[in-house]
Symmetry: C2
Subunit: 146 residues, 2 copies
Amino acid sequence: MRAEADETTPLLPIGALAKHTGLTVEGIRFYEKAGILRAPARTAGQHRLYSRADLKRLHFIRRARLLGFTLDEVRALLRFADHVGARSCADAHGLATKHLGDVRAKLTDLRKMEKVLRGMVASCADGTLPECPLIETLSDSELDFR
Amino acid sequence: MRAEADETTPLLPIGALAKHTGLTVEGIRFYEKAGILRAPARTAGQHRLYSRADLKRLHFIRRARLLGFTLDEVRALLRFADHVGARSCADAHGLATKHLGDVRAKLTDLRKMEKVLRGMVASCADGTLPECPLIETLSDSELDFR
DNA sequence: ATGGGACCTGTAGCCGCTACAGCTTCAAGG
DNA sequence: CCTTGAAGCTGTAGCGGCTACAGGTCCCAT
């Protein structure tokens, strides 16, 4: 089953890649400059031409970004994905675990914020009071919610 | 009860202000340049001297920032706080309500992320598998969790 | 008078894009 | 074959909200 480097596989210009991945053209070029995506083939006139492998890689990148991994983390994940093995899987696991911790910490923070904001909004439900409890809350409360 | 412009009220240098508010000196200067905090009095040698009113204002700013309001929103809140009244209270209420919505949206996103990440981490609990389900998830799943 | 910490201004950098400006190239229709 | 208009190119600047210098000056306790 010889399937690679098939000449019938069409190469994609950057716009098509953008459509397939949901990224912007500028974003894709940015990833290249940032060293996340390697430089693709070019036409005679310097237009980028992407392979299916590039498409897959970009999907990977986008999903990792949607999950809130930083570009540095994505770089690491890609390295792990490139030389798959027990070792890199463990590394990826560690990275994901750490990131899960970050996300949970952020969730905790946001829940506290939500609570305080809910209280503030409820305290002056319609803005008909002469004093503004909402602004008072910001001015005077302790609010050390971190 | 004449209490304002009291000469016994000590003016604070920027470092003291930073300590009181939990901000950094650079952060405070940044707020001044950003037009959030008005320029304070100065010593003969150009060192900033802050009043108690400035301190209060900075507390307000910091709390609003901790709650995730943007600087633009903080600017608006300060305007409302400056001319208090039914109108401005209603405005502040609207702003806080909108922000509460933003926070809730972010919470929803983060909860989804948390779920996916939790699944990924659980899928390869120790990195002893030959394949890496975690990386597979990023590579192949639909993951349109937004 | 002196030493050392606090303060000053101004600039550059961080992250992850986004938005131009000012060109060149590609591909479809006439 | 030629024209057109969309799509692509490079490079630079900007966003938010600070942070981190560099290279100076000032303040105040001893």
